[in-house]
Symmetry: C2
Subunit: 152 residues, 2 copies
DNA sequence: GTCGAACATCTCGCTCAACGAGATAATAGG
DNA sequence: CCTATTATCTCGTTGAGCGAGATGTTCGAC
């Protein structure tokens, strides 16, 4: 932050954005460590809860693909989560080759207890802004997401 | 998941923020994979470049602490980075127990080539907003960072 | 109906990042 | 100098994730 940048205002926000991603990552890491899980396990639970909210069935294969794991790694991941009681394996009804992964109630509550307060505080922050300001925040985040996703 | 959402507008931004952190994480992962590095190696290089920009010497011990590695892991990390030519070990002049880690020019250029365009696009985005909107973005990011850092 | 190809998941053996414990080397204080 | 302290490295182990291949399931062709 020592003023060597020509446009300090913009770069300050860039660094702030990076700081936010770092802090959110550390927050997830704390959740992982507190519950004796690995970062991958947390990402898996988040993916599973997202799927549940979208009323989509998440199979072992889809989960592995979403996390960038191969079949062996996915099996080990689901083994770990199942052993810890965070998920259940359910053989697909329609297609019995599939293994549908269901998040346990206990894991959902764990996640809400840990991430809920952060979400509430963020929503609280947003309520302090008017529509034009919120539109700016929304537009900026949208743009950054697309810039990061589109880049090569 | 939908326990506290009477207002969709705020939750949309919360999800957008999470999407941004996911995309930025994937962007770093692409950088790591393309250069045959691990996520930890990328985090290490970023920490080293931050230190360099702040004109601070980064020693092996401080680097390990910043990344949450113990001494053995830190040694292995620096070994990897040195073998790949991304950093150099330099024995401390004043205190010869210390090992100062310096980032190679080549690694700096690698990082700029990959992250520079994204930063430029982000700055470009920001230039489209007026001061009040930028203040809102800055304030929001600031608040989220503190909320994530302060929690528990 | 039965056969074989395609598919979804699991098992086995391996590699390598990170850990714990302890060794080695250098500084500072009495 | 001799001891406590600090900084880094070495050794042996653990465990997540990979590649290859085994097992069980569906579906179309005949």
């Amino acid at each position: 932050m020592s003023g060597t940048t020509p446009q300090g205002s913009e770069m300050e926000i860039v660094h702030l954005l990076r700081a936010v991603t770092v802090e959110l990552g550390l927050h997830s890491a704390r959740f992982a460590q507190r519950h004796a899980m690995h970062p991958t396990d947390v990402r898996a639970l988040i993916a599973l809860m997202d799927a549940a909210r979208a009323r989509e069935e998440m199979t072992a294969g889809r989960l592995g693909a979403a996390l960038g794991l191969n079949s062996a790694g996915t099996t080990a991941l689901v083994d770990r989560l199942e052993r810890a009681g965070h998920v259940r394996r359910v053989r697909g009804e329609r297609d019995r080759r599939k293994v549908v992964i269901e998040v346990s109630e206990e894991a959902v509550e764990l996640g809400q207890a840990f991430f809920g307060p952060l979400i509430d505080r963020t929503v609280g922050l947003l309520e302090g802004y008017d529509e034009r300001e919120k539109a700016a925040i929304r537009g900026f985040l949208h743009g950054v997401r697309d810039a990061a996703a589109g880049q090569d």
